[in-house]
Amino acid sequence: MDREEQVLFAGFGGQGVLSMGQFLTHAAMGEGKNVSWVPSYGAEMRGGTANCLVTIAEEEISSPLTENPMTAVIMNRPSLDKFEPKIQPHGTVVLNSSLVDRLPERDDLNVLQLPVTELAEKMNNPRGANMILLGAYIQKTSVVSLDDVMNNFDVIFKGKNPKVIEKNKEAFLAGVEYARKNWK
């Protein structure tokens, strides 16, 4: 298949996985890439898991869908159970180790872990867990350029309360920091 980056974000309903995906999509679009963002929806409205798939490509995106993403950003255990078998061979998993109490069983995967729920609670920003994970993931993979993200932060969050933006930025940078230190 054609090379495009397809990243899956998955977690509980309330963990902000859809926004993580949208953030990345916006950021990539800001860089002039072709993008698409496809959420799972509805069934997950009350509880359960939520996920979205982000595609980033240089060329026009033919299919915004795939069952087999290259990368999966996993916020809780049920999501790992569900998506581990579907990640592409030699793909990457980014794990919220606070809520995922096991490692992937497959040994071909590139595994990156960080305890974002705990980190977020420590920062007194429990809703910021998703941004921490996103910061770490972007820092590590450079799927979009970190500088561009930081420059565009306000644009991406356009219309949001400046305080909220500030909190998100903090969380994001904490993730970047964590990845720099721990994921070599």
Binding site: M45, R46, G47, G48
Partner: protein, 246 residues
């Protein structure tokens, strides 16, 4: 020590999919307790709505049907007419009962169908993500009344208990809430009365229950219970609106 509160037999015990603090769960339990207490589980047939309670067939431990949106009273009619000895109840939200299902509920009541309707009024469409309901209060913000409901534009909230009490076929109509222990007890009594009057064949019975939707009201569960006191009860007074036994 003896057990004074536990899961009633008429619930399966399956984990609810409801949001934290959603009082659908309390209401489910009350219905189940009444069914237990009346000893009618094996002859009760329940009908769930389309709405947040759409999966109630997984929760109630008796024969259950899942209805098309708003049509539960018609389905209940079909069942009760064929099986007059059974006990039939519907469980419906305000979108289901008061919006799309208005004709069906009004006619079930006019016909005096011997069924019990558990009407969960949370002033909003929960399942579909917080749109306006016919019971949404004036000024209340929802995704389809984003500037607050205005009488001039969206009209006035409907008071179903009062309307249905107009029908001769209605035998028992009450409005209660579950926002504090005393009200939970009253709600259970009303539900029990409704089931009893159904069994006596006196006519149509309904308990309208003011219920919290913390998620779509944008409140914490505890605040949501207070919101019922402060905003809903003034427009939707509690009480019995019809009781053919009284």
């Amino acid at each position: 020590m003896k057990t004074v509160a536990a899961r009633p037999e008429s619930l399966t015990g399956a984990q609810y999919h409801y949001c934290p603090g959603c009082t659908h769960g309390i209401i489910h339990r009350l219905v189940a307790e009444v069914i237990d207490e009346l000893g009618i589980r094996e002859k009760t047939i329940g009908i769930c709505p389309v709405g947040c309670a759409v999966l109630a067939y997984d929760y109630f431990n008796c024969d259950m049907l899942e209805a098309a949106h708003g049509r539960a009273p018609a389905i209940a009619t079909g069942i009760k007419r064929m099986l007059p000895e059974n006990v039939v109840f519907t469980y419906q939200g305000d979108g289901d009962l008061a919006s799309i299902g208005m004709a069906e509920i009004l006619h079930a009541s006019a016909r005096g169908e011997k069924i019990t309707v558990i009407f969960v009024n949370n002033a909003v469409y929960g399942m579909t993500g917080g749109q306006m309901a016919p019971t949404t209060l004036l000024g209340q913000v929802t995704t389809t009344s984003p500037y607050g409901r205005k009488a001039e534009v969206e009209g006035y909230p409907v008071r179903m208990a009062e309307i249905l009490a107009e029908n001769e076929g209605s035998a028992y109509i009450a409005r209660t809430t579950v926002n504090k222990p005393a009200n939970v007890r009253r709600t259970k009594k009303a539900i029990k009365k409704a089931f009893e009057i159904q069994q006596k064949g006196l006519g149509f019975t309904m308990v309208e229950i003011l219920s919290a939707c913390p998620t779509n009201w944008g409140l914490s569960p505890v605040q949501a219970l207070e919101w019922i006191d402060e905003n809903m009860i003034p427009y939707y007074p509690l009480g019995e609106f019809k009781n053919k036994e009284a």
